[in-house]
């Protein structure tokens, strides 16, 4: 289904697929089949599939598992990051609600591959209502693992509502009972994670993809997506759109196709990747690929039509970051406050419009000097909105 080429980049037509939510009972069979396979072979197949983490950062999942497998230590952990907190993302909730067994199978696979006996689902506080159901399924699956001779137990841990705990090392701190603050890297969790033991932290959707790949094989999986962005993923579509909701789409499409499908006919901008992502204005829709070669997203797609003030959009994001920065590192903690107060001062004419240039410089410093991905990505929304909608910020 390879589509047109633009700027020598391979793109795909917008294609809906149905793997993640497709009803079937093959999880246990997939696991059984995989447990008979060599661990390195599974890693190779995952690497070959090209699967990259679905949380947004895009690290090769197979490579992450390989590093954790090779890390020294008898005790290792698998953590499923279900702290879905990016504004405009709501697909992990749906996965956990509808196909939790695919998630847990992926975690068990990972446990088998890296040699971990314990896996944790780190569930965001706001999703606690799912916990009773998830725990009963976990209990069933723990029994099934035992029957298969797999020494792996699933468990659940809860977040407390901090956005930053979606960052894997802050998540680990939180699980250890501490205040969730991102750690210095290196060391990375694959060598020193939960309780300083080698740990794989993957997003909910990533584990589901692992289960799917083990079921259909890397060859089949690779038919989807582009060289840089293999497979398909879930998109949480919201904003001024004709049909908001969760859609499973092949990776590598052009934003223009996406807007044609989901926009309300008056789309002025799309925020790809949530508050920490990029704002793409209409004139760039047909040059923007959704994927790691273009703009990657953890799934959030927010569509804005011409009735929206981009000042308010930006103000909203900055309020979010000003509150959700952990406050640990200077560029992020103070930078977020300065960006927010800064655009307010420009808007109210307390500062001249050229102050926006100072703020853009600040946002760029935040991008290179912040301790974790949160602070590093605040500048994405800020710079892309100010660059493309400067008048709306000033006037």
């Amino acid at each position: 289904m390879t589509g047109k080429k633009q700027n020598d980049m391979e793109t795909k037509k917008l294609t809906r697929v149905d793997y993640i939510f497709r009803p079937d009972n093959t999880c246990l069979d997939t696991l059984k089949k995989s447990l008979r396979r060599d661990r390195d072979e599974i890693i190779l197949e995952l690497i070959d599939s090209g699967l990259k983490g679905r949380g947004g950062a895009g690290f090769l999942t197979g490579l992450k598992w390989k590093l954790a497998k090779e890390a020294a230590g008898d005790v290792k952990y698998v953590i499923c990051n279900a702290d879905e907190g990016e504004p405009g993302t709501f697909k992990d909730r749906e996965i956990l609600d509808r196909v939790p067994r695919r998630v847990f199978t992926g975690m068990a696979l990972c446990g088998y591959v890296i040699g971990s006996k314990e896996g944790f689902l780190y569930l965001r506080a706001e999703y606690k209502f799912l916990a009773p159901k998830l725990m009963s399924i976990m209990a069933e699956m723990n029994q099934e693992f035992k029957k298969l001779g797999l020494d792996f137990t699933l468990n659940i841990r809860y977040g407390s509502g901090a956005y930053v705990c979606g960052e894997e090392t802050a998540l680990i701190d939180s699980m250890e009972g501490r205040r969730g603050e991102p750690r210095n890297k290196p060391p990375f969790p694959v060598t020193e994670g939960y309780l300083n033991k080698p740990t794989v932290v993957n997003n909910v959707e990533t584990f589901v993809n692992c289960t799917i790949i083990m079921g259909i094989g890397a060859e089949e999986y690779k038919r989807f997506g582009t060289d840089s962005s293999r497979g398909f993923k879930l998109f949480s579509v919201s904003g001024d759109c004709s049909k908001e909701g969760i859609y499973e789409l092949e990776l590598g499409m052009l934003l223009s196709d996406f807007v044609e499908e989901f926009g309300d006919g008056d789309t002025k901008a799309v925020q790809v990747g949530g508050a920490s992502g990029f704002c793409v204005p209409r004139k760039k829709f047909n040059q923007t690929i959704i994927g790691f070669e273009g703009i990657p997203t953890g799934g959030s797609m927010k569509i804005f039509n011409s009735s929206r003030s981009m000042y308010h959009v930006l103000h909203n994001y900055l309020e979010f970051f000003e509150e959700e920065s952990c406050g640990q590192c200077t560029p992020c903690r103070v930078g977020c406050q300065q960006l927010l107060k800064g655009i307010e001062a420009v808007k109210s004419k307390q500062r001249s419009s050229s102050y926006l240039d100072e703020l853009v410089k600040l946002a760029k410093v935040m991008k290179v000097a912040s301790k974790c991905g949160l602070g590093q990505s605040v500048g994405n929304a800020f710079v892309s909105i100010v660059d493309n909608f400067r008048e709306e910020i000033i006037y």
């Binding site: 901090a162 603050e181 952990c326 406050g327 560029p331 103070v334 406050q337 100072e358 410093v365 301790k371």
Partner: protein
């Protein structure tokens, strides 16, 4: 076999051991990378980001304090990208900082001030966030003041309080713009588990945490013609004060200290070392009494091991954290409080001064002593035994205010009486010192001979090891002490409350058996106290310790029981150790406190 890593910093090749951080590697090349959250005594944090450096090929900057070197790394510490980021970060910090420097207590000793001076931060680029924050200053503690408007959230205090001291009175609270360093449920500092040790103050790079100073009160007392102001000086002050007044760490300035105090106008300049010697007499006797009750009388109400009680930070710590172990604490007051009680009784009588007209001031390396002086049970003289406690730093401020050119002063001697001391009293200022002093006396009481260590130097109890232990076999005892014949006295020493906690836990779990334990709240003992000159680090503390032991070696009397003024006070006033008068004036009791 240590693996060596080769890298370049600013294009200069360097080879360092694996595990070295970039900031340390740069130091080897005499390249200083500025940092505010990094501290030699503390674990790595990497949160201020002032130390960011460029790693060629990496799009983001790396925190030099938190990033270990890797083979073939190319680091640039002064590239355009780095300088721009660093300057921006300092500007951001200043925008969130109450930069009213001229009115700040830490003016002149502030790492943020130094840095903004180095980078010539001029016109404020960013919006001043201070008016938006509605900070209040916590002045509830008698020991310290916490001013959040000066805080840069480097969390040195948090790491000090949790890692070095295992107290965790301070921790990061809230998030984002609201993030601050706070106490249990934001309670005022005097209501929480804070031990007043002041180690956070020693490491705070700005003026967010400072001692509560009583300089003006002391000046007022000096100026009051109706008051007789006595001052006592703790052992550790004399080996550290010089650092505030032009000397390198390790300078012994005892004689100049005395001269300066006299010039400041104190009516009598006396020495806490005298009551340190007295503590040894009381505490040593208490230990021997406890040993007898346990070993001979099989008295199960007596708790062994006995713990020292000189360190008020330690006292508050055990009251909060190990209240079940309080019976192990010696009932002896600290030397400061013994001095205070005697100043308004024994001293007043001998001098013929009405104790109500005496103002008792102490110069301490310690902020917890400020709290200790206000404890309600510390009024055995009928008045508050110690009126004002000044830290080494506050004294240095007074000396500067008085225009005293300290380095040019002649040496003078302490006044008599309560001014004479032995070397045993002096070494109270170092970790292991109380133990060594106690052993010098107790061993001699029991055997009639000097401790079996060359030149009286009991080296196993010295040094900066976190927990030290030693054994002394007691043989050929005097008839009164026959029950100790052949007993091996087992002792342990811990300094820094994290080490104290480890030792206490081991004792509570029955994993170790000792007879006598010395605990000092601060790393290195009093010489590393929370009232000592800033900065501090292991090297500085080692230099101060060397000075303490040199002071001891140079004194003619080195055993507490040979101090003639001690002999005299027992003859004239106290009778004998643990006498009725001693119990009234020199001993105290403790209270269990809440766990937060």
């Amino acid at each position: 076999m240590i693996n060596m890593i080769n890298l370049t910093i600013n294009n200069i090749p360097v080879s360092v051991e694996e595990g070295t951080t970039i900031i340390e590697a740069a130091r080897r090349l005499s390249i200083r990378i500025p940092s505010l959250c990094n501290h030699d005594d503390l674990c790595v944090s990497g949160n201020c980001r002032v130390c960011v450096v460029e790693q060629v090929g990496n799009p983001t900057l790396q925190a030099a304090c938190a990033t270990p070197v890797r083979e073939n790394m190319q680091i640039l510490t002064n590239s355009m990208m780095v300088m721009q980021a660093r300057k921006t970060i300092i500007e951001l910090l200043l925008s969130e900082h109450n930069a009213d420097c001229t009115k700040c207590y830490k003016n002149g000793n502030c790492e943020l001030q130094d840095l903004s001076n180095e980078y010539r931060i001029g016109n404020q680029v960013y919006i001043d966030l201070i008016p938006l924050k509605h900070y209040t200053i916590d002045q509830s503690s008698p020991s310290l003041i916490k001013d959040d408007s000066k805080c840069i959230r480097c969390q040195r205090c948090v790491r000090t309080c949790s890692d070095l001291q295992a107290v965790s009175a301070l921790s990061a609270a809230y998030k984002g713009s609201e993030m601050k360093i706070s106490s249990f449920y934001d309670r005022p500092m005097h209501e929480v588990i804070c031990t007043n040790c002041g180690q956070c103050i020693n490491r705070c790079p700005t003026g967010a945490l400072t001692e509560r100073n009583y300089i003006d009160e002391v000046w007022d007392a000096i100026y009051d013609p109706g008051k007789h102001v006595v001052v006592q000086t703790a052992p550790a002050v004399r080996v550290a004060l010089g650092e505030e007044l032009g000397y390198d760490p390790g300078a012994r300035v005892t004689g100049k200290l005395v001269t300066a105090l006299r010039r400041l106008g104190f009516d009598s300049v006396l020495d806490t070392d005298f009551t340190a010697d007295l503590t040894i007499m009381e505490e040593g006797t208490e230990l021997l009494t406890r040993l007898k009750k346990v070993l001979v009388d099989k008295d199960t109400s007596m708790a062994l091991p006995m713990f020292t009680s000189c360190s008020p930070g330690w006292i508050k710590f055990i009251e909060h954290t190990f209240p079940d172990l309080l019976p192990h604490l010696s009932t002896c007051k600290s030397p400061q409080q013994m001095f205070g009680a005697l100043a308004k009784t024994y001293y007043a009588q001998k001098k013929g001064i009405n104790p109500k007209d005496i103002v008792s001031v102490s110069i301490m390396p310690c902020t917890a002593k400020k709290f200790e002086a206000t404890r309600p049970e510390m009024r055995d003289s009928g008045y508050q035994d110690v009126d004002y406690v000044l830290t080494t730093r506050e004294l240095a401020i007074m000396i500067k205010q008085a225009g005293i050119e300290f380095m040019k002063l002649d040496d003078e001697d302490y006044d008599r009486f309560m001014g004479e001391s032995s070397g045993a009293g002096v070494i109270f200022g170092a970790t292991g010192g109380v133990m060594e002093a106690a052993l010098r006396t107790a061993y001699e009481i029991v055997t009639g001979r000097e401790v079996p260590f060359q030149n009286l130097n009991i080296t196993p109890v010295r040094g900066m090891e976190g927990i030290k232990e030693a054994e002394v076999k007691i043989e050929n005892v005097k008839p009164d002490w026959s029950f100790l014949e052949g007993v091996t006295l087992r002792v342990a020493i811990a300094h820094g409350l994290a080490n104290a906690k480890r030792l206490m836990t081991a004792i509570r779990d029955g994993k170790v058996v000792y007879h006598f334990i010395e605990i000092m709240a601060c790393p290195g003992g009093c010489l590393g106290g929370g009232g000592q000159p800033i900065p501090t680090n292991l090297e500085i503390r080692k230099k101060r310790a060397e000075a303490i032991y040199a002071e001891d070696e140079n004194l003619p009397i080195r055993k507490s029981h040979e101090n003639p003024e001690i002999i005299q006070i027992y003859q004239e006033f106290l009778g004998e150790p643990l006498s009725h008068t001693s119990h009234e004036l020199l001993h105290t009791h403790y209270v269990p406190r809440k766990r937060y």
